[in-house]
């Protein structure tokens, strides 16, 4: 199975639960499980090649010039992680099917879970760091959704936001680091970067890249001091905690460290930073876990501690340490996921997960007891379980690594870590299961049905089998470790008995010490209190409060709701950019002569200037301002006609009409006079507006007096309009063919804008806005005779003529001035006239079509026309044309561009009419009651 398909499968699977949830959550889970199982089978099928040391690759170039390609690579490390993600994912789906309460929206849960699974799989299979980054942020997002799944709970919401802020910020920092790294290595392909290891480490930018990438990895893998989000994320449902926050997502940081290990490791910076952070995290997490009474919090801190252990091993920089790290990834995922799932069972069956309220569950829940105990003993590092093996390898490596000038430093500290780890593992078993049975469990405990215990049982089976027969895990672990260090590791042996080594002694000390720690737990309570006080993420809170306040201040400064201010900010930035561009480059000599100015043109130009200058002085009277704007628009249209741009003139005139009608409708609700602003504001606006307007004028003048530096594209358009686009109206051919993609985007935007106007107006028609609307008194007296007979008759008479003009303009558009856009506006105006003359009620009662549908149909027709080109083997929106002869008619041309133009036409009619009808509906509603009063009075 292609790797591309494997990565896509979970995303496809994310759609299934949403659809299947109507047939029950069993079906939804089965659908998601099917996709997961298929992807897992695909990965497993590649295993023989991976074990042989090969890497399976798949590649899809997107923008090769920018180094952007969807390239995937499955080697040993990726295979190990992929099997963890998909295998545990399958178990989690099964478990969650029975875990979620009836009231929980299960379909959404499975969809989120599959999205996460796809993102995580993408991370481990990506061979391009830019692609990896996208999946990286996707895991942050899907984790946010999953943590906040119970969105009615404040702790879930806060935890979700915290996880997102910490991990996504880390991800953003990492993007910078990855770009630096890619810059040094000269490629964004991981397989290339890894080969460029020595060059990277010698580069002066190495510390920068390393620091930024480590920040990303440490935040994701909950390393000290960014570990605090992980315990808060425990507000998520337990399957999520087991899946994301112990087995997979938090290992993404570890994965990245392992992936880039050959490129980045082996320097003192790497050794000290990574080892120290890992070591501190391991000790810190373990110490806090020792005093937690919430089962999930205890497990969360122990996860932090174990992640620290793996990071520390990667920091060592030796091959054996890397092997131990990879092995521990596998072992930790199995026993910790089993423990989380057991904790979920305990909470499900007893109603609490506070170990102070538990105890004595051994006889009540024997099966859960067996599973949780085996997993916890593995976590403690007891022999014959898989946790022992990797811990032993870790201690062995620590005992041989020089740190801060001595071999014993690491040996002592890691033994301490293992000791505390054993302590909290024993404590978990003893306080939960052993001791007296109690009378006061919130509910009566008993073992769950198979749905809940099967998943942890399978995980525990892995714990035991790997613990007893480590050779079974050898191929996978050796292949993964080989992929990390970039060498053949197939010769390694995993075994239980290494003889009497220092590690064995350290292990024994740790276990004995752990047991001792358990008996002394009461005396150490003070330490727990002190730790709890220290671990409060006050810094995070301070940063968040500061960032929030800063963001609020900034957005308040940029736009406070007054349009003048946000426009001022926009214009100011544009001015600054323009001024900077002008100042930083010279202006060439004028190469074109001025054209003569005939007197008529001068008069028109003067009229335009007078009207424009007049506007600022009169703008407070809004109706007058509208009249002036209309005049300016008409003058501009005449200018277009004079300059031989009939298409633009047609468009300008029709747009002018529609705009004036739209503004008149809006003016209905606005005060007819606007308030005078303080002088300072007026001075600011006048200055900005003059500078921007004169600047644009000067820019255009400068452009027109010079020849262009490069030949323009106009010649191409003139040459190819007829031969390529089949039309003699170049403007229209540009719109529907050369730049058809732009037009397609624009009509979509137009449709969306109209829908937004509709939505806003619709809100106004609902309570309580409706009440305000009805109570609204107009600021000037209303006139009677709303529908004068003369206007009604005239508009109805004109309607068919206007529609015919619209059709005429549409049909000639390809070869003569006109086209779908103008035709749409003409038809809209014809329809709006009916609204104005005969009233909303009359017009809507005769309306046979829905404007929403019209917009949709327009976009659809335009899109389908574009797709049609694919069937001819051409790119999107390539047009075709031909000449047809139908007996009674003359020979005429048929072009696919016409169908596209029809889409434009329909969208324009729909959008304009929807906007105008929404506004007129508002004013109709406002005057409705008033009119009734008039009738009765």
């Amino acid at each position: 199975m292609s790797l591309l398909l494997i990565v896509i499968l979970p995303f496809l699977g994310a759609l299934l639960p949403a659809v299947l949830i109507r047939s029950g959550r069993g079906m939804a889970a089965a659908g998601a499980g099917l996709a997961t199982a298929a992807a897992l089978a695909g990965v497993l099928a590649h295993l023989p090649r991976v074990f042989a040391g090969e890497a399976v690759v798949a590649r899809l170039d997107w923008l090769p010039a920018l180094g952007l390609s969807a390239s995937f690579r499955l080697d040993g490390l990726a295979a190990l992680f992929a099997i963890l993600i998909l295998g545990i994912g399958l178990l989690i789906l099964f478990y969650a099917r029975y875990y979620l309460a009836k009231a929980d929206p299960a379909g959404r849960f499975f969809t989120y879970l599959m999205l996460f699974q796809g993102a995580m799989l993408g991370i481990v299979l990506s061979d391009n760091i830019l692609l990896l980054l996208i999946f990286w942020e996707l895991t942050s997002l899907s984790s946010f959704l999953l943590i906040g799944y119970w969105s009615h709970r404040p702790d879930a919401r806060a935890g979700a936001v915290m996880a997102l802020v910490v991990t996504a910020t880390g991800g953003l920092v990492m993007i910078a680091g990855m770009l630096v790294l890619g810059g040094i290595a000269g490629s964004y392909e991981i397989s290339q970067i890894v080969k460029a290891g020595p060059a990277i480490r010698d580069s002066g930018l190495y510390p920068l890249a390393l620091g930024l990438i480590l920040l990303g990895a440490f935040t994701k893998s909950a390393q000290f001091p960014f570990h605090f989000w992980l315990p808060r994320a425990m507000a998520a449902p337990t399957p999520v905690s087991a899946y994301l926050h112990s087995a997979t997502m938090v290992k993404a940081g570890v994965f990245l460290l392992a992936r880039l290990w050959p490129a980045l490791s082996g320097t003192p910076e790497w050794f000290y930073v990574v080892t120290t952070v890992g070591l501190v995290t391991m000790l810190w997490g373990a110490s806090v876990a020792l005093f937690r009474t919430d089962l999930k919090a205890l497990l969360a801190y122990s996860t932090v501690s174990h992640l620290g252990l793996i990071v520390m091993l990667l920091g060592f920089g030796s091959k054996a340490a890397a092997l131990a790290a990879v092995f521990h990834v596998l072992n930790h995922a199995s026993f910790k996921a089993a423990l989380f799932l057991s904790a979920g069972i305990i909470e499900h069956e007893t109603g609490t997960r506070d170990i102070d309220r538990l105890g004595g569950l051994r006889r009540l829940m024997p099966l859960t007891f067996a599973l949780a105990t085996l997993a916890a003993l593995s976590m403690a590092g007891v022999p014959l379980l898989n946790g022992f093996l990797s811990k032993e390898m870790m201690l062995e490596e620590a005992a041989h690594t020089t740190y801060l000038g001595g071999v014993w430093v690491l040996a002592a500290l890691t033994t301490l870590g293992a000791l505390i780890s054993a302590g909290y593992s024993f404590r978990l078993i003893v306080l939960t299961f052993l001791g007296q049975e109690r009378e006061d469990y919130p509910t009566k405990p008993h073992d769950p049905a198979i749905g809940l215990w099967l998943a942890p049982a399978l995980l525990v089976a892995v714990v035991v089998v790997v613990g007893l027969f480590p050779a079974l895990a050898r191929p996978l672990v050796a292949a993964a470790a080989g992929a990390v260090v970039g060498a053949d590791m197939s010769g390694v042996v995993l075994k239980i008995w290494h003889g009497l080594t220092p590690a064995l002694a350290m292990s024994a000390i740790a276990l004995a010490g752990g047991a001792l720690l358990l008996t002394q737990a009461r005396r150490l309570q003070w330490a727990g209190v002190a730790l709890a006080r220290l671990s409060a993420p006050a810094v995070y809170a301070a940063i968040m409060t500061g960032a929030e306040a800063g963001a609020r201040r900034l957005s308040a400064a940029l736009h406070d709701g007054a349009m003048a201010r946000s426009l001022a900010a926009l214009v100011l930035v544009a001015l600054a950019a323009g001024g900077w561009a002008f100042a930083s480059a010279g202006l060439g000599p004028e190469t074109r002569a001025m054209l003569p100015v005939p007197p008529v043109v001068a008069v028109g130009w003067l009229a335009l200037i007078v009207a424009s200058l007049w506007l600022p002085f009169l703008h407070r009277d809004r109706l007058l301002a509208l009249v002036l704007i209309g005049i300016i628009g008409l003058m501009v249209s005449i200018g277009f006609i004079y300059l031989s741009a009939p298409d633009l003139a047609l468009t300008q005139i029709t747009v002018e009409v529609v705009t004036v009608v739209l503004m008149l409708l809006a003016l209905n609700f606005l005060p007819k006079q606007s308030i005078a602003e303080p002088f300072a504001l007026r001075a600011r606006d006048a200055g900005l507006a003059s500078a921007a307007g004169l600047g644009v004028g000067a820019l255009i003048y400068a452009l027109m007096r010079r020849d262009f530096a490069a030949p323009t594209i106009s010649a191409y358009h003139v040459e190819n309009a007829y031969s390529g686009g089949g039309g003699t109206n170049i403007v229209n051919v540009i719109l529907v063919d050369f730049r058809g993609y732009d037009t397609f985007g624009e009509i979509i935007v137009l449709g969306i804008a109209a829908l937004v106007i509709f939505a806003l107006a619709d809100v106004m028609l609902r309570r309580p806005a409706l009440r305000r609307l009805i109570a609204w008194t107009p600021d000037q007296p209303r006139a009677g005779d709303a529908h004068p007979l003369m206007l009604v008759v005239t508009t109805r008479l004109v309607l068919p003529v206007a529609l015919m003009v619209g059709v005429y303009i549409f049909l000639r558009g390809h070869n003569a001035p006109g086209g779908g856009f103008v035709a749409g506006l003409v038809v809209s105006i014809a329809l709006v006239m009916q609204y104005m003359a005969s009233g909303l009620a009359w017009a809507e009662a005769r309306l046979r079509f829905d404007y929403h549908a019209l917009i949709g149909a327009g976009v659809l027709i335009a899109g389908l026309t574009g797709i049609g080109a694919w069937f001819a083997g051409r790119p999107f929106l390539t047009s075709a044309f031909g000449y047809v002869t139908l007996p009674p008619l003359e020979k005429f041309e048929l072009a696919t561009a016409m169908a596209f133009d029809l889409g434009v036409f329909l969208t324009v009619v729909g959008a304009v009419m929807l906007a105008l009808a929404s506004l007129s509906r508002l004013s109709h509603r406002a005057h409705h009651d008033e009119r009734k009063r008039g009738e009765t009075g």
Binding site: L765, P788, M790, W842, R846, G934, G937
Partner: protein, 138 residues
């Protein structure tokens, strides 16, 4: 020669009407009387130009031009409507006192709720509820 004279005559006539109209716009005392000047001038003045244009095309270019007829049609349709609305606006806004009242009643524009097109509007299509979406929220 005759054609030239004819065309010029119509053009001059149109110009005179245009001048008279503009002069009236300045000279006439109040809005209601002032309304007459531009509306008459538009129809007659522009009409003269159009006839001149038709004659020009028929005599000089040798083909009949129908555009002018369409322009005339649209002028005849729009000029009265805009005049009506100017008058209505004046009635509504300034409430001139010296106008004669319609027999037995008041000007329609001054009585809220009147509808001169009421019979025309009550067509065969039954009235639907105005905002069908409104009902859904309850």
């Amino acid at each position: 020669m005759v054609w030239d004279l004819l065309i010029t005559g119509f053009l001059v006539l149109a110009g005179v009407f245009g001048l008279v109209g503009s002069f009236g716009l300045v000279k006439l005392p109040d809005p209601m009387t002032r309304l007459h000047a531009p509306t008459k001038a538009t129809t007659l003045g522009v009409g003269g130009v159009l006839i001149a244009s038709m004659l020009f095309f028929a005599a000089k270019m040798g083909h009949f031009s129908a555009h002018e007829l369409l322009i005339t049609l649209f002028l005849f349709l729009t000029a009265p409507v805009s005049a009506l609305f100017l008058a209505k606006a004046n009635l509504h806004h300034d409430r001139p006192q010296n106008l004669p009242h319609p027999e037995g009643s008041e000007w329609a524009i001054l009585r809220i709720g009147t509808d001169t097109a009421a019979e025309t509007l009550a067509g065969p299509v039954p009235e639907q509820p105005l905002t069908p979406r409104e009902g859904r929220e309850t």
